[in-house]
């Protein structure tokens, strides 16, 4: 059986051995605190982060492209459109959103047993700070636009939500 036993605070802990990790013997659970970098998990975390970062970048750039023409647009349909969406903006924003979510899932699964800092919740802040930046920039530079500044304030508040969570960026470790 691929099972390990150790003693933590007088309680025997039985756990399934993790793939690609080794344990240095001994009966203390402290040995489980020794952390290893599993290459497949590292590769998964890297792929997940690449997808998250590219997704946020595409949404950021897509949003700017729409804000450049006034902040709203439409494509297709039977009616005459006043503001036609820039070519490919809709697909690229959807691609960024879906890709970012898939990347978050891959990163979440892959980074469980990796040492160091878990950046997943920071992706939330990165997304809303990036999009909020657009609201602030276009709300201030293109004449004072109170509506966009209010959106900017809201996005910064949403981005700050992880600060109020019980989440700790440091994974349990030595």
């Amino acid at each position: 059986m691929n099972v390990q036993k150790c003693v933590s605070d007088g309680v025997e802990v039985v756990r399934r051995r993790r793939w690609m990790t080794t344990r240095r013997g001994g009966a203390s659970c402290d040995h489980d605190r020794v952390q290893y970098i599993s290459l497949p998990r590292l590769a998964g975390a890297v792929i997940g982060l690449v997808l998250i970062a590219s997704g946020i970048t595409m949404m950021f750039l897509g949003m700017r492209a729409v804000m450049d023409i006034g902040g709203y647009c439409a494509s297709g349909g039977a009616y005459v459109i006043e503001s036609e969406c820039p070519n490919g903006t809709g697909p690229v924003v959807i691609l960024g959103l879906v890709g970012g979510l898939i990347g978050a899932g891959i990163y979440k699964i892959s980074s469980v047993s990796l040492p160091g800092t878990n950046l997943l919740l920071l992706a939330w802040s990165a997304l809303f700070l990036a999009l909020g930046w657009n609201f602030w920039e276009y709300g201030i530079t293109a004449g004072l636009d109170v509506g966009w500044i209010i959106c900017g304030v809201l996005f910064v508040l949403i981005a700050a939500m992880p600060l109020f969570s019980r989440w700790s960026p440091r994974r349990p470790g030595p």
Partner: protein
Amino acid sequence: MNDSGNTRLIMWVAQLLAILLGIYLGVVIFTLVTG
């Protein structure tokens, strides 16, 4: 790779490079799609 003082550094470097690569790819894909 087993645990050493370098594991966290390896993680930081790998994650930083992944983020930079992601931003680069995001710009490239956006440019290609919106042309």
